[in-house]
Symmetry: C2
Subunit: 451 residues, 2 copies
């Protein structure tokens, strides 16, 4: 069942392209799914890939193009004429076509749109381009099946046969009044089991979930997941049914969001992939490293202030503990922030801030005590004075408490101010916790040891 592009198939395709043996190429690839064609395309050289897209049937290549990485698709499209691109778009659903157009230069986009033969399709694409990319309007497709409440079941089936030709998958049939306002839905199952003479108004379900064109994609994903919906209709501000979003688009959206959060937590600021080039990777990674560097230089400054401790034979070992303190502060901060960021994303952060504060302090005390005991045992083994070990243990506990509080409350505060809390995970938290942690460590040590 699992499809893999074999070396053999790839060699075969490459040599057929070189021979410009279009007939054999079409025959060979005819039975492959568009997703497999996409996989083959992504393994070819750019000129070969472009050739393949040009000669295969648009019905298949249009879908294959949508499966490709954005970069590769853009590069292939650059080698096609406006008319050829328009040919691909004719076969795409409006939502995909609009996404492709949005990637083109303004000038090219215009000539492609005017090269689309079906004026309704072109008009729909232009409409979709007017919505924000991550809004329900930007995610929806215009293709759907709608029926009027006044129709009979038999008339409805006739009309649907006509409409369904343009719709890849019929999930629900939407019922509208004579102005086009969404008033309910009908499942294919209901239609299948209804008497042919009854009216739609007698059998439709007047309760229907919907979103507005302006609803944010994240909210659409939440609603569709919560109510287990496979498609949701989209209405404009007058209640007119203007499109629908299907679950497959939302699956992609959820995956992209999860990957973005993961990358942010890892200190990668742009959407990059393992196979991007060195410059793209540098742009995504270097800014966070510079942030980390400044954090580290901040620690250098702080320690310069405690330089005289180096002359205390019994206490100079404190400096050996700075990486440990920084690591613990960072780890605790990342743990706390990751839990909160996920909780915020799933709407699972409830209760008062005070309760959360008490809980985090409690948790830190438990974790801190366990680690403090280990530190004291280690100190005993190393032959440290007991008061020295105690000092490190107490300082470590304080650092852990502060790190947990920073990790917990920074994302909550960002979220309340409408900033994506995910930026607070990763390097941001580790860097600030490093500085706070080291400052606190030396401050507490100095006070306790009376240096």
């Amino acid at each position: 069942m699992a499809f893999e592009v074999t070396e053999e198939l790839l060699e075969n395709v490459k040599s057929l392209i070189e021979q410009e043996n279009n007939q054999e190429l079409k025959r060979l690839l005819n039975d492959y799914h568009f997703a497999d064609i996409a996989e083959i395309t992504s393994e070819l050289e750019l000129t070969e890939a472009t050739y393949l897209i040009k000669i295969l049937n648009s019905e298949k290549t249009s879908e294959a193009l949508m499966e490709l990485e954005d970069d590769l698709r853009e590069r292939i499209l650059e080698n096609l004429s406006a008319k050829e691109i328009a040919g691909e778009l004719e076969e795409m659903d409006t939502d995909d076509a609009a996404d492709v157009i949005a990637e083109l230069s303004d000038e090219l986009a215009e000539s492609v749109i005017s090269a689309i033969e079906d004026p309704e399709h072109a008009g729909n694409i232009v409409e979709l381009l007017s919505y924000g990319e991550t809004s329900a309007g930007g995610l929806m497709a215009k293709e759907l099946v709608k029926v009027k409440e006044t129709w009979t079941v038999a008339g409805c089936v006739r009309e649907m046969r006509r409409q369904a030709k343009n719709v890849t998958r019929v999930h629900s049939i939407y019922v509208v009044d004579k102005k086009g306002v969404l008033i309910g839905r009908l499942s294919l199952k209901d239609l299948l089991t209804a008497d042919a003479k009854s009216h739609i108004s007698d059998i439709f379900i007047p309760k229907v979930d919907y979103v507005n064109v302006e609803t944010e994609g994240e909210e659409v994903a939440r609603i569709m997941q919560k109510y287990d919906l496979e498609a949701i209709p989209v209405i404009d501000k007058n209640g007119i049914l203007v499109g629908r979003i299907t679950i497959d688009d939302i699956v992609d959206f959820i995956k992209e969001e999860a990957e973005k959060d993961y990358q942010m937590a890892a200190g990668i600021s742009q959407d990059v992939e393992a196979d991007d080039n060195v410059w793209q990777l540098t742009r995504a990674r270097l800014p966070w490293l510079v942030l980390g560097l400044f954090g580290g230089l901040g620690s250098v400054f702080i320690m310069e202030g405690y330089e005289e401790i180096m002359t205390e034979p019994n206490y100079k070992s404190l400096f050996f503990y700075t990486p440990l303190i920084a690591a613990m502060a960072g780890n605790v901060g990342v743990q706390s922030s990751a839990i909160i960021v996920q909780g915020l994303a799933n709407n699972a952060v409830k209760g008062s801030l005070l309760n959360r504060l008490i809980k985090e302090v409690g948790l830190s005390l438990i974790n801190g005590s366990a680690l403090a005991i280990l530190i004291i045992i280690f100190g005993f083994a190393m032959g440290y004075e007991l008061n020295f070990s105690f000092t490190i243990a107490i300082a470590l506990m304080s650092v852990i408490i502060v790190a947990a509080l920073i990790g917990t409350f920074v994302p909550i505060i960002l979220d309340k101010r409408g900033i994506d809390p995910a930026i607070a995970t990763g390097p941001f938290i580790t860097t600030s916790n490093d500085i706070f942690g080291i400052f606190l460590f030396f401050y507490i040590a100095k006070v306790i040891l009376g240096i």
Copy 2:
């Protein structure tokens, strides 16, 4: 559109429960979606929640139960009799029912199964329990619509009306031969537009994607996403159609997987939520902190070995740089590993290991040079000797290269050995990179400065 449990509604529900006013309670909650009932339930005290589940109609509560957090559902079920649980399971799809049974103690599970009235439903649940939880067999439901190739369209529609009653959503109609072997599919759309007298064998599509009962859930998710499938049939080793998996189950699966990876990267080893109790959170977090502590103590050991540098007035500042070195090693390692882990998950890591090695070294040289320049500027501002600044810069670059290589190749090696590479992100990489980084830093500094 967005539903929120208001304080008012909650108070109302609570007081009706206290008054045991079942009639009014049923009337009040009648119009709410099961997902909303689940949200209300999760805000109640356990005894109230149990009361609500008992008195509301099983048709609604069975679905609401599936929306609850696993913990809460288990606690509610503990307060129900075997017969009451069986009543809920009767209304669930077989896949959900099997998941619930799997959470019960063996003894209770047995009495619940024998209390289920419909022997076919009970038999199906028992069958599902025999598969691995994350295999296609464990994810699938027995509910589906299947027709025989020999039937006519009219006969098929009659039979489907009967079958469809048990199926929440009809995606595809599966076509089987007389032994029950899957041979193709039919869309509702096709059936709607076909002549009533034609035979299924004339109109069905003989190409159908499927998975085996033993296929792993991750692979099922990959196939369904790649081919944009909303449902996929599952066959046993003889090709017999035994169930189907729908996209909503896979959406949950994808989300859980993404959250697990994210938590692992953050150093959280079990599936926990912001609202779990302190002990659960400690169990998930403490092990990684202990790992970090051991790493930190390893650094202490290493630095003890370089203690004599503290007596060098010009070079003792090296010790102030250890948190910086550790942080940079950690950040670079996490960035590299995150990109590789995502790439492995998306099958996007291609090409030879040597090329990847060259690329990582190149990337590290670029990032490292930029950071080295900043370090030298900082040293100039602080009035360090130039050879001291250069030493730190060169040591930092070496550390970055090694950290990037560890971050890149550890996940690749783990993946090749069949271990989830996500465990290599987060604390594991940062801890090992801390130790390597600090060792390398002092070693290089000593060699260059000739201390």
